[in-house]
Amino acid sequence: MDLMAQISWSHRAGEGGIWTMMLVGFFIGMALMFVISRAPTRARRPIVGAFTFLSGLFYVMLYLWPTPKSKGQFDIPQGPVESVGFFLQDTVPVVKDFASILTAFLLGLGVFSLLRIHLSRIFKGHKDRFFSATLLVSMVLMMIVGYAQWYQREFTAAAKTTDYGNPDNWTGAMQAFDFLFDGLLQQMDAAMFSIIAFFILSAAYRAFRIRSVEATIMLGTALILMLSLMGLVDYLSTTAVASLGGDQNVLQNFTLKSVSDWIKNNLQSPSLRAMEFGVGLGALAMGLRLWLNLERGGVGG
């Protein structure tokens, strides 16, 4: 513990020392990775389990340990319990950073996988090599243009004096990025997801049939809900009910909107609440099993 206390975890920026410490840290990390890679087969599950358990333990402690309320920046903890409470609360943003950084590193895994598949298709002369090349060219182009415009916006001398919010001041890279991102990627993103609507329409025409009690209930509710989304139909139903005369305080309960609201609040809401509650209980159980490494076939293997 003394050794840990003597290590300085930070260093002044811009000096050679910080780079040395980073290099040392990197080699220590790689050495640890090498040691872990030599672990015998029977130790692998406990190693992965230990990493998982320790990561989860932090948040469990955060929940169970008394945490200080309204802690000020310069408050000093009184006693060991409060010290741990202070430590836990101060560490939350750091742990968040760890998770974000690891997630970001792992995002690269998908890209790496994409590269492997498509490069191998190109070099092996696969019949779809033209499409693979198209994908890689688009990807590289977006990366180059993205980084180029970002560098110009953030780090060049002109960036300090130029309002790049105004398109008139854009450089070539900025315009190219706008074209690729806003002109192509965003439009394709919207188009790709909208295609599902066509398939839903066709599927509903062919398969949404009143073959059973369940299907009939589902279809009936869906029709009422869809009609209630149409302001014009709702207006007509309200007008029709109003024209009936009589006790409007009672009759207004039978307009399309009132009926659909009643379904939403008294049938749909509790049924979905119960369904989600079941899912929530499942997630809690799964969380505990993962954390305690009890899940067969989980991350522990």
């Binding site: 998770a99 970001a104 439009q187 369904m275």
Partner: protein
């Protein structure tokens, strides 16, 4: 509208039409546009992960920053470098011998997730359970709540606090629905009790009401996307840019 904006819109329209061409049948133009889309999305992710995340949350914190004009700046926390080897372990998934190591970073992230479950369960479901406890015995036996728009605020408050018969019936339906659907989920094995069989069947039927509502709402969502595409092609491009 300047030439560049028109060109940008035309490219977007061409890409949209290319993707929609699959509705007629699978074709090469669709596959070309599809691969451009995937490439651009992957390229943007690579760019954004560094520019929006790793640079700010990892690199800058690790290297620190020098202050400008006499400000002290922030020190660099060099130990952040240790996350790099942990992250690199994820890439061992491609190694036949050491692919088990790729579970370590995933285990860390799942550990963070699982550790939070105890706390979040109550945060999320505590208020839901509380709201599900509804009074089912009326305090006023009139069927409907009277019109309050012409009442004084004091009188309206009294009426507001009363449980009318219709409200009590609604609450009973609400409570029954929750119990029936829960019973359907929890007792999914073969049941002997007639009462439980009826509860389960009611639960399944009531669940269909919820799913019907989801269907209706999802249809609205998907149609909105098509409408937006048509607006883009016919109004933003053709009407406002090309034939303005």
């Amino acid at each position: 509208m300047d030439g560049y904006t028109k060109l940008k819109l035309a490219a977007g329209v061409l890409a949209t039409v290319g993707l929609y061409s699959v509705l007629y049948r699978e074709n090469k133009f669709y596959r070309f546009v599809e691969h451009v889309f995937l490439g651009l999305a992957a390229g943007f992710t690579v760019f954004a992960v560094w520019a929006e995340t790793l640079k700010v949350q990892w690199w800058d914190k690790m290297t620190g920053s020098q202050g400008e004009a006499g400000s002290p700046g922030t020190p660099g926390f060099w130990a952040y470098i240790l996350l790099l080897p942990i992250g690199l372990m994820g890439y061992m998934v491609f190694s036949k011998k050491h692919n088990w190591m790729s579970r370590i970073p995933i285990g860390v992230i799942l550990g963070f997730w699982s550790g939070q479950q105890i706390q979040i369960f109550w945060n999320k479901w505590g208020p839901q359970l509380n709201d599900s406890m509804k009074p089912i015995i009326p305090t006023n036996w009139s069927l409907f709540r009277p019109d309050m728009s012409q009442m004084t605020p004091e009188a309206a408050a009294v009426v507001q606090n009363d449980i009318y018969l219709s409200q009590a019936i609604n609450n009973l339906i609400f409570t029954f629905t929750i119990l029936a659907v829960l019973s359907y989920f929890f007792f999914s094995f073969d049941l002997k009790s007639k009462f439980m069989q009826t509860m389960n069947k009611s639960g399944r039927w009531l669940l269909m009401v919820g799913l019907g509502a989801i269907f209706g709402s999802t249809v609205m969502a998907r149609f909105a996307l098509v409408i937006d595409r048509m607006f883009f092609i016919f109004v933003e491009f053709l009407q406002r840019a090309l034939f303005a």
